[in-house]
């Protein structure tokens, strides 16, 4: 299990759910980690992820420029490099257009889209100072969503922010490909992360089962496996892509 041996990775939104699964998988594959999240509390419950994994944690807000720059600085300290950034931090309001206030809209955009912009900017600035290793100067994996390609049910700000993440991914890939910086996204379909509330209300679960062709819904580990593939040296000729992990939802 050494597919990320010798690599340093910074993962945002790492305390819970998909980010937590990515942190767990990357650690098992030998990566040196810095976890970032606005809180160490685990949405699905239990001990803080960084304590379980025994890795450093930086409490910060991805929509805050200073926090993001500091996270990248800290992540690169141990090895002088930042090989991988995973942007997983996200919030959602769960409201239709006519129910969404400007303040709510702005907050979602600040975390889900500006947060990815700030982190990509800080990471690429760091990566440009690094030597190319195994055909890459650095790699970014953005967690997007099927929402933004298909409609996000009754959640206009979330879907719009995620569509922006997909575009940002393509633009970074195109602009920094010549510098051997690899930038891809992973688009989860319906993933059961252990989160409660709106995510597992019967009407949304029924809808998701009806729309997911494979016999099961997704797990956080499914997304972590895809992130691992794109973060590893196995994917040195893939960039700008948005890899669906959706049980066939988009093919239907």
């Amino acid at each position: 299990m050494t597919r990320l041996a010798g690599k340093t990775a910074l993962i945002t939104g790492a305390s819970s759910g998909i980010g937590r699964a990515i942190a767990t998988r990357f650690l098992a594959e030998g990566a040196t980690l810095l976890l970032m999240d606005i809180t160490e509390a685990v949405v699905e419950g239990g001990e803080p992820t960084h304590k379980i994994l025994d890795v450093p944690f930086f409490q910060g807000d991805v929509s805050n420029e200073k926090d993001v720059d500091e996270a990248v600085r800290r992540a690169a300290l141990p090895t002088g490099r930042l090989d991988i950034v995973v942007n997983d931090a996200v919030i959602r309001i769960g409201k239709k257009l006519t129910d969404t206030s400007l303040e709510e809209w702005n907050r979602v955009m600040a975390v889900n889209l500006a947060g990815v912009f700030l982190m990509c900017r800080a990471a690429v600035r760091q990566m440009l100072t690094q030597e190319i290793r195994h055909e890459a100067r650095g790699r970014i994996v953005n967690i997007s969503s099927q929402h933004g390609m298909i409609s996000s049910p009754e959640d206009v700000s979330y879907g719009t922010s995620k569509a922006g993440v997909v575009y940002l991914t393509r633009q970074i890939a195109a602009d920094y490909g010549r510098d051997s910086i690899i930038c891809n996204a992973v688009a989860p379909g319906k993933i059961l992360t252990g989160k409660t509330g709106r995510a597992v209300e019967p009407r949304w679960l029924d809808y998701s089962h009806a729309r997911t062709p494979l016999p099961r819904l997704g797990r956080s580990e499914d997304v972590a496996n895809a992130a691992l593939f794109l973060a590893s040296d196995e994917a040195t000729f893939i960039t700008g892509e948005n890899l669906m992990v959706d049980g066939g939802w988009m093919a239907g």
Binding site: A174, G189, P213, L214, F237, I238, G247, A251
Partner: protein
């Protein structure tokens, strides 16, 4: 090992004359390295046999099988051979495809004969291979099918038959994924971009009477990521991921392996 005890059919596991490693051979070697038993299918038995010998040299398990995949009877025999030999079929990897080497041309130059040949090799083979493998996979309640299409589908490409047949493979893969998901079968399609393979580079050098180095330089310059073509190993690694349990929630996906060429059009 990520494909331990799996049975795989790699169609197009030999390769065109020329230097280096083709996509099909690299994939067969990668599957075998990860523990799969691999039926290496090619119309050129000698080339498939070379792939098998390379696998054998690394203590892998593989057999060569000669088939003209434009003929349904031979596809049926190929599937029956893998099934009777190893008892199941977990992975079908459709790698065959021709463009220039099949007589493909621009619209006003294409002959009916060349067009039919390209359709038969590129598209019919992939659909009929799925037709004969799917009943086995449905009975197993599992299976992974990987079709190799091309970046030509989503970017400019000069010759008509290749573009049209490779585009059809994408739609077919989505249908295959959707209609077979309930049986636990996954189907995905890879779009290789500009690759440094014998078929892509050496065929063009011969056709356009250029040196290999000239063709390499022209193609390298068109790739955004590091200004360098991909290799057969890039496609093989993507296929390994999609064939393995790590991709067990991924189906109906189109995955470009193109060094970013498709995100910067024109």
């Amino acid at each position: 090992m990520r494909l331990k005890d799996r049975v795989a059919i790699v169609v197009g596991a030999g390769q065109s004359p020329g230097e280096g490693m083709g996509n099909g051979r690299a994939t067969a070697l990668t599957f075998a390295r990860e523990g799969a038993k691999v039926l290496c299918v090619d119309h050129n038995l000698k080339s498939a046999q070379e792939t098998v010998e390379m696998i054998g040299a690394n203590q892998g398990t593989a057999m060569a099988f000669k088939a003209d995949v434009t003929k349904e009877a031979e596809i049926k025999a190929m599937v029956a051979d893998a099934h009777s030999r190893w008892g199941r079929i977990d992975i079908l990897h459709n790698n065959v495809g021709v463009s220039l080497s099949g007589g493909d041309a621009e619209l006003l130059e294409i002959t009916e004969e060349a067009f039919d040949r390209c359709v038969a090799i590129n598209l019919k083979s992939c659909i009929l291979a799925a037709k004969h493998v799917i009943p086995i996979m449905r009975a197993q309640k599992s299976g992974a099918i990987i079709n190799i299409s091309s970046m030509a589908v989503i970017t400019t490409y000069p010759y008509v038959a290749y573009k049209a047949t490779k585009a059809a493979m994408v739609s077919f893969t989505e249908q295959l994924a959707y209609q077979n998901a309930a049986y636990g079968i996954r189907a995905n399609v890879i779009l290789p971009g500009l690759m440094n393979t014998p078929m892509a580079v050496d065929t063009r050098a011969r056709t356009f009477k250029k040196t290999r180095a000239e063709v390499e330089a022209e193609r390298d310059a068109k790739v955004p990521l590091g200004k360098k073509m991909g290799t057969g190993w890039d496609v093989a690694n993507a296929a390994l991921f999609l064939a393995s349990d790590e991709a067990s929630f991924i189906t109906g996906v189109t995955l470009p392996v193109d060094g970013g060429a498709s995100v910067r059009r024109g």
